[in-house]
């Protein structure tokens, strides 16, 4: 950011020079009233302040005050957060935050009053992480609203929010929220340290921070969860995680996480434990199948066709008999098509996108089969695996799954089933080595922590969730006390 540093090096000597410099922008106002009984001067960015507040709360008080000094004025203004300063960098910073600088007479000292305007859209239901059951409350781009949402859900004195400013140009406010005692100090220290060490110019979204905070930035696996659901954020904070809220971003980051949590939809907690466990297992199978379905097709049809029973083989051969390509070309063609559709659907305006996505899928799919470019069976496989990949509750994980199959297809072409197994070993090793803020990624599977299994691949009833996950190593390990303890179990006809 050379242009910025160059600008900053020409530091204004005094207030007038600074005002002259800032006046080059059209939204900068420097208004001086000498005629009235009470002369005053206002300096502010018209685009940042709330004009209503200026005219209603500020100007009448100044006019009627007849105060001779800024200190007097500070005493009577009905607004909090007023400061008097003559430090130019501070004044400039405050002006850019939406403060008004007031002077009664020329000089270096100004009174800074915060009347900044907050414009934010209304709350809306989460669009990316949709759920049938549960609260429909999503984060918005305004940091204060988001903090309010969290605080209302956890009205507890131990809910701490620590602020830090990141970005040399954007000066983005970032808040780390956690419940003290539940979150481990070590994790909080790690994240605060990493946030302080961040060096960047403009933070456009929380995902910028997410990518820069990750333990292993080479990995394709998300090491934090991006979420817009407030119930998910507070739920994870209650496990012992922290949430990072970013000004201007409707996504919060949750960390530390483990791999299993990426496969958990928060709706699982709203369904009964047995139903939720069943869906979790279905989701896990779907994800595994989604990754290996097409690579297995390539591996088996290229090298190990004798693996199939003769009847199934006949079906396969008859569906592939007209196709002039090898399985790998066929698979690549169709997988890329699906990813094109997905990408086009994501970029297009919603109304056009949906229709075009579905119609395009059918047209391209059937046409490709009729033109003997791909086989029916592959079309079914690819469609199913695409469907399965979208069952993942975390969007970034969906992308990971879609990405992973391409190298896997290559390895399947290279070494057949052995290639698939070897690449599987590579992913396994990678996941064993991966950490999220120093916590093992595959926990509670490896290192095995059987006490944490009550809410992992399956979910047990809430009465059996008395203890917090060992994974987060918080001090408060008990979630709640079990009040009604039965002395003996009742027999039939005793209830």
């Amino acid at each position: 950011m050379k242009w910025f540093k160059k600008g900053a090096s020409e530091k204004p000597e005094n207030l007038e020079e600074m005002v002259k410099d800032l006046k080059q922008s059209i939204d900068f106002v420097d208004y001086e009233n000498k005629e009235s009984d009470q002369p005053y001067r206002l300096i502010y960015f018209a685009s940042l302040i709330d004009p209503e507040q200026l005219h209603r709360d500020l100007l009448p008080v100044i006019k009627e005050s007849r105060s001779k000094s800024l200190e007097d004025l500070k005493g009577i203004l009905p607004i909090e957060n007023i400061e008097i300063s003559s430090k130019l960098p501070l004044i400039q910073e405050r002006l850019l935050e939406g403060h008004v600088a007031i002077q009664l007479s020329r000089g270096q000292k100004v009174l800074l009053v915060n009347i900044s305007l907050r414009k934010s859209r209304d709350l809306s239901a989460p669009e990316i992480e949709f759920s049938v059951m549960g609260p429909k409350e999503g984060l918005v781009e305004d940091l204060h609203t988001n903090m309010n949402l969290l605080r209302r859900r956890i009205p507890h004195p131990r809910l701490r929010m620590k602020e830090i400013t990141i970005g040399t140009v954007s000066k983005t406010k970032v808040v780390v929220a956690f419940i003290e005692g539940v979150a481990s100090e070590q994790n909080i220290n790690t994240v605060m340290q990493r946030l302080e060490d961040l060096d960047f110019d403009i933070i456009s979204d929380s995902s910028f921070i997410g990518q820069m905070l990750e333990d292993n930035s080479l990995s394709v696996f998300p090491q934090m969860i991006d979420t817009e659901r407030t119930d998910r954020i507070t739920g994870h904070m209650n496990f012992g995680a922290f949430a990072i809220l970013t000004e201007g971003s409707s996504n919060a980051l949750i960390g530390p996480i483990n791999f299993g949590q990426l496969l958990v939809s928060f709706e699982d907690y709203y369904l009964g434990w047995n139903i939720a466990s069943f869906f979790r297992i279905v989701r896990m199978i779907a994800i595994l199948a989604s990754i290996i379905a097409t690579p297995l097709y390539v591996a088996v049809l290229t090298y190990h066709y004798e693996l199939f029973p003769s009847k199934l083989l006949a079906t396969l051969i008859s569906s592939r008999s007209d196709i002039p390509f090898s399985p790998v070309v066929e698979v690549f063609f169709l997988e890329v098509t699906i990813d094109l559709l997905r990408e086009a659907g994501a970029r297009m305006p919603t109304k056009v996108g949906q229709t075009l996505g579905i119609v395009g899928g059918i047209v391209i799919g059937t046409a490709a089969v009729e033109a003997s470019l791909t086989s029916n069976i592959l079309l079914i496989l690819v469609a199913l695996s695409a469907l399965a990949s979208f069952t993942t509750p975390v969007y970034r994980m969906t992308n990971t799954i879609r990405f992973l199959r391409y190298p896997l297809i290559l390895f399947a072409q290279l070494l057949g089933l052995i290639g698939v197994a070897l690449f599987g070993l590579f992913i396994l090793t990678h996941m064993i080595r991966l950490t999220s803020f120093g916590n093992p990624y595959l926990a509670p599977l490896y290192p095995p922590r059987i006490k944490d299994w009550y809410d992992s691949f399956f979910r047990l009833p809430y009465v059996m969730q008395k203890n917090r996950f060992q994974f987060f190593r918080g001090k408060q390990s008990k979630r709640f006390e079990d009040k009604k303890k039965r002395k003996h179990s009742l027999d039939f006809d005793e209830q």
């Binding site: 090298y303 190990h304 199939f308 070494l415 070897l422 070993l425 090793t429 080595r433 290192p447």
Partner: protein, 366 residues
């Protein structure tokens, strides 16, 4: 003091019960796919008794090893140096390294022999060897916790294959096992000697011991590891003896793989392909553990950093594996390992056990 004392020791250590997976995964390798005929050649239908007896002997070895290692701050490399002095100790340590490397080479090359025999007859040896060794480097770079993780998943992921043993039962005649105890003591002894190769691998305990939290409490898990191996081998042996006739078994080089052919699934005809694919996960921990052990020796004796020494080891293993070109040479390697393994277990471990006992009596220290 041990080199683990430096730095954050706790972050490098693993739970004691993981030693079960480490020992079990280092014992079970390619051997399961075709060990039956070597044992049955001597003990015939009593081969399964030989399997159990050898398992019991290995429990004894575990016991000896825990006596040798005692309090857990030293591995066998340190102990060699303490007991025999720097020079003779180094000779012992380097011999240990060569033994571990031989283990890597045998298991990797034999498995690739299986792949070549069953799935890819024209596959160049160097491709899977290179891929496996690159993966090994990636694992070792993650430290012992990653190695232990690979052992854990190397047991967990293929564990369902145990159920495939039920498939041949339909075609089995269990009267094959009768009459029991029909062989001479000499046959049993020779069978046990043959069986040793399949059980070899608990030696990794001598090196992994300082990496365990509360190493003393891990003893029960080490025994569980050997027990698990014994159960697997016994099951495979009994099923094979009942499934094959005596003559047929001698004809089958890869008896387990052939028996897998009878597994029937609605969409899978030749199940052994799936078995071999999953065997990639069984073989990998062996390679990682032996390479890790060898690199530990390099670090402690030759004072070369593990991250560089592993590269040398990989180059060495790669070269040797590629030089082995046919079935006879693979067989020779296996026989050689069998002989060396026999000496290691039946002479070296009892010797070092007695030596440690006497040393501690006389010197009153570790």
């Amino acid at each position: 003091m041990s080199d683990l004392e430096q730095g954050n020791r706790n972050d490098l250590l693993i739970s004691p019960f993981l030693i079960m997976f480490i020992i079990h995964s280092n014992q079970v390798g390619v051997g399961v796919l075709g060990f039956q005929r070597y044992i049955a050649a001597y003990a015939g239908n009593d081969a399964w008794i030989v399997v159990i007896v050898t398992g019991l002997i290995f429990h004894l070895f575990i016991w000896m090893m825990y006596r040798i290692l005692s309090d857990g701050t030293f591995d066998i490399i340190d102990l060699h140096n303490k007991w025999f002095g720097k020079w003779i100790g180094s000779v012992f340590n380097l011999a240990l390294m060569m033994y571990l490397l031989l283990g890597t080479i045998v298991i990797l090359r034999t498995f690739i022999e299986v792949i070549q025999a069953w799935m890819f007859p024209e596959l160049a040896t160097w491709i899977p060897v290179a891929l496996y060794l690159l993966l090994t480097y990636y694992v070792l770079a993650g430290g012992f916790r990653t190695v232990a993780g690979i052992c854990f998943f190397g047991v967990i992921i293929p564990v369902w294959l145990v159920f495939t043993a039920t498939a041949p039962i339909k075609f089995s005649t269990f009267s094959n096992l009768l009459p029991m105890m029909d062989h001479s003591l000499k046959d049993f002894a020779l069978g046990t000697r043959q069986m040793t190769l399949s059980y070899v691998g608990i030696d990794i305990l001598l090196l992994a011991y300082p990496f365990l939290k509360n190493p003393r409490s891990s003893r029960i898990w080490a025994h569980m590891g050997v027990l698990l191996t014994t159960l697997v081998y016994t099951m495979v042996m009994i099923v094979s003896l009942a499934f094959y006739s005596a003559g047929q078994l001698q004809q089958s080089i890869w008896s387990t793989l052939i028996a897998w052919k009878v597994v029937e699934l609605p969409f899978v005809e030749r199940f052994e392909y799936i078995g071999i694919t999953f065997w990639c996960f069984v073989v990998f921990p062996n390679i990682c553990l032996t390479m890790w052990g060898a690199s530990r020796v390099g670090k402690k004796v030759l004072h070369i950093k593990q991250k560089y020494f592993v590269i040398i080891l990989i180059a060495f293993v790669f070269t040797v594996c590629v030089m082995v070109v046919n079935r006879d040479q693979v067989d020779y390697l296996n026989t050689l390992t069998s002989i060396i393994g026999t000496y290691v277990y039946y002479f070296y471990i009892p010797f070092i056990f007695l030596y440690s006992m006497i040393w501690r009596r006389v010197k009153k220290r570790i």
